[in-house]
Subunit: 561 residues, 2 copies
């Protein structure tokens, strides 16, 4: 371990003694693990330098985060964004560089104009050289502010269902954009509700009455002179959300909005089937994990000051945005069913599903609980389940089709099992990749040891939480489940000893976590009390309610009110 | 079905045609089910009469609920509470009567002074006749406002760990209350942060240096003259929370606060072991259920305007308050282990655990998927699992003790299995009680039929989600799991047809649900848009951010900022 750990906070090193003891004897080099997580020591250095700059600037303080209204959150995020752009310009940090990513981490993501980057990225990816030459310099120098308007009030993940139209007018060589009905209104785009001047609108392209499918168009939505809505544009904020209230997610209604021909972007490509399912299980696991941690903190985990509610409400969004999880899992399932058919008929399949071609093992042969911690053993168990669940879903699908059901209807009747199959596949893939990554840590014995424990814990936790999947066809027996449970509980005790050093290795600053409970010094009660006292509920016109309501009640009693 | 259904909202009867079709052919009498849920037609009548009064009074409007800051929420709840007390007084509705309960339902619980009732109830339950005669009239007429201060910053569910002290001073015949350290501060009590004048403080009683355990004391915390903190009292609000921001949960620090001898309440009794576990699984299931519904609404479920985030954040609190769920499940487990020992040695046990004395069946004999819908079959399966999991946990516990572990340490090592056993017991009990309740609906054939489907759905969903529990010792086979899954999916299709009438039967008004998605007329897009436009993010100084930050950015660009 490094002799002097990076000072994580402006607070002094007065640490809660219970926490101090936890840090005394880590089984591995914490600083080394930090650099591995960062992808190299140079990245760690850059990240810490960026964090030092951000945390020392009072404009970036997040002290009042938990006390802000939606309006105030938005204003704070815009203020920070403008200040950040200025600072990045001075420091010569590029918006596509690693410093920008670290700024975002240091600020806990609470900064406006994140969609402006997506706007630029989509232009770079989808436009011609002429389009790039026109729009990118304007955007880079903030002469315009961009957004990205895809989701509609009635249509999210199913892009082909979009109802916004762009009709080409041959005589004027313009596109005329319209929102034909309420469900076609653009709804949710970030930075659009109150900030953006331009946005990329996805619309069904019509030429001479014929529909050519969904295409992206650059549309100016607000005046560059006074920021008022452009002709034919109705735009506003969709109101308060479970979180992300610093972002002005917006609605957009278009009535005969004309854009020149050259504003149509030419290309269009949303996600690979496998990464879809992976996104779904990663967001599901992490959301559930945060909620478990929050509940484990008892009542204090319910206080916004703990930082845990906002971690939950933010991660919860990730189960829905960029593709709703169940829809994504069904995309993965469609890919898997196709690959299973190919594998069975001896055709080549992508490497991620090559395991479908192999013979499936019949039974786990382990007789000692320690053997269950061998990666070979648990990876094989996950592989077995992935093949079994997928085969079973595919068999049901085939039986339905053979009995005369329409393909679409048969698919619909199998969705519960298909989602199950996609999850089993992704879970297998994650466990296998985890085990392989641990294998590669050979030169760092201490880190490899603790990572092997964590990998075993992850794998056994998955079996423990889904024993039915493994017991179903007798691949493992009830006795083996009991052994596995014992191994799992043993691992908890082992990992427990390194729990604090493992968390330390992520190297989140106190300012980034912004939590009264999750702070380097561990003085949680003191901090909860200090932060509560600063709450506007104690300082802001706190007595007005007494004067207006309580005093008359106490003085008059009910009978005279 | 009643010819004219109670008009649920002030909105017109213009109903979304998709929803209208769903209501056309319910398989049961919806109005009849409503009266069953209310506990009788007279209750339904009273409830609707109360709702009509509440919803017609503009003071009780909850239209702006999703736009309020913590301060504004608190002020609105106090305003409503004072108005409600006045109205109840005029209508001669008692605070302990059913009208009061229905007022609370109509207002979605968003009203202050709910702890005032707990204050009165605790005095009625724990005090002498003299104490009741003194305090209840003061409280009933709002000459004082009460709260209930039990939880401390460092101690919640574990009551014996409280650190607040009450030392008896023999010469003055007073108790002197103190908060000896920061973790002893009272933390979380509702109505205490900004409202209450009095509270019931739980403290360790000391007489002549000897501790007599935790006792309750009535303590005045604010002046009845000007509402300032009483001498020695530091009191305030604990700040923003995941929800319940209309409630002024408070902190309380006591320094040599003297109360007369007669302020000590004499009795003390916070939960029965079985109801503990039941509370835990009911809150866990309902919280998970709401989150499933929220996610099923996609992005719109993330908008506060859907009402679903606040349903989640409120129910999430119930997993922690009034006893943290894991702690409660362990209390139930302790009771179960004791009862299992008694049952095995032939001693009498309470009726709720009489099943532990019976011989456990070895195997489920069902060969047809329809038989899995027989309540006898699934209740027996749950019973089998409850006995197996408890026996297994008890055996591990006994083995550890016999191998020399301390009782306390052995218990600690078995907590994962003990929680599992408590859940299995409670789950069995709920399924069994559900089946018995359906059995009693014999005179209402249509309602009994749909309720039997729902009971089967609940039971099979539980098996489907925990197949490992049932497969572990071969009580059911993999083939039976597949049959069960098929039955479960069949039931989904059957219940689906009555989904809207079932929801209608709960008879929640639009005003109570306060949701842009969950409304009687089903015009969800129209309502989302209307409500979003009313949001302060669109109306309140919306342009200030442009003037202050965006305009200078656009006009100057980065280089000149």
């Amino acid at each position: 371990m490094a002799p002097t750990r990076y000072l994580r906070s402006s607070a002094s090193r007065d640490v809660n003694p219970d926490l101090d003891i936890e840090r005394k004897t880590p089984s591995f080099d914490v600083e080394k693990l930090t650099t591995i997580l960062d992808g190299g020591a140079e990245n760690t250095r850059v990240r810490r330098a960026v964090e030092a700059v951000i945390h020392s600037d009072p404009v970036f303080s997040r002290e009042d985060k938990y006390f802000l209204s939606q309006n105030e959150s938005y204003e704070a995020a815009v203020k920070k964004a403008v200040h950040l752009k200025k600072m990045m310009h001075q420091m010569k940090w590029s918006w596509a560089g690693s410093e920008c990513k670290y700024c975002n981490r240091a600020l806990g993501g609470e900064v406006a104009f994140t969609l402006h980057n997506i706007f630029m990225e989509s232009i770079l990816a989808l436009s011609t050289d002429e389009q790039t030459a026109k729009w990118i310099p304007l955007a880079e120098n903030y002469r315009i502010l961009g957004s990205y308007a895809q989701t509609e009030l009635g249509h999210g993940t199913y892009i082909r269902g979009f109802e916004t139209t762009a009709t080409f007018n041959i005589s004027t060589q313009e596109f005329v954009l319209n929102t034909p009905k309420i469900s076609a209104m653009k709804w949710w785009p970030g930075d659009l509700g109150r900030s953006a001047t331009h946005t990329v609108v996805f619309a069904q392209l019509y030429i001479k009455g014929k529909c050519y499918g969904v295409h992206p168009f650059i549309v100016q939505i607000r005046s560059l002179h006074d920021h008022s809505p452009a002709p034919g544009v109705t735009v506003g904020d969709i109101g308060p959300k479970m979180d992300f209230n610093h972002i002005d997610n917006g609605y957009l209604l278009l009535q005969d909005v004309r854009v020149p021909r050259e504003n149509m972007l030419s290309r269009f490509c949303e996600l690979h089937a496998f990464s879809s399912g992976l996104k779904a299980i990663v967001t599901e696991h992490s959301t559930a994990g945060v909620e478990t941690c929050r509940k484990a903190c008892g009542g204090h985990g319910y206080s916004l000051l703990s930082g845990l509610p906002s971690l939950y409400t933010r991660l919860a969004a990730s189960c829905t945005y960029e593709g709703e999880n169940t829809v994504l899992l069904l995309q993965t399932a469609r890919f898997l069913v196709k690959c299973l058919g190919a594998a069975r008929s001896g055709q080549p399949v992508p490497p991620s599903v090559a395991y479908l071609s192999a013979v499936n093992s019949e039974r786990c042969l382990v007789r000692d609980k320690r053997d269950l911690l061998q990666p070979d053993v648990y990876v094989e168990a996950y592989r077995h389940v992935a093949i079994r669940v997928l085969s079973s879903a595919a068999a049901k699908l085939q039986a339905l089709v053979q009995s005369g059901a329409e393909q679409h209807e048969a698919w619909h009747q199998c969705t519960v099992q298909l989602v199950h199959a996609a999850k089993a596949h992704c879970h297998y893939h994650v466990v296998k990749s985890f085990a392989e990554a641990v294998e590669k840590l050979g030169q760092e014995a201490g880190i490899q040891r603790i990572m092997k424990h964590l990998c075993g814990l992850f794998a056994l936790h998955g079996i423990f939480s889904n024993t039915g999947d493994f017991l179903h066809d007798g691949y493992i027996s009830g006795d083996q489940v009991d052994m596995m449970t014992a191994s799992y509980l043993d691992l908890l005790a082992i990992v427990r000893k390194d729990a604090v050093p493992l968390v330390d290795a992520f190297d989140f600053t106190d300012e980034t976590l912004n939590s009264a409970l999750g702070s380097y010094d561990g003085h949680v009660y003191r901090r909860l009390y200090q932060w509560a006292r600063k709450s506007p509920s104690n300082t802001k016109q706190a007595n007005q309610v007494y004067e207006n309501y309580l005093k008359p009640l106490f003085q008059n009693g009910l009978s005279k009110l």
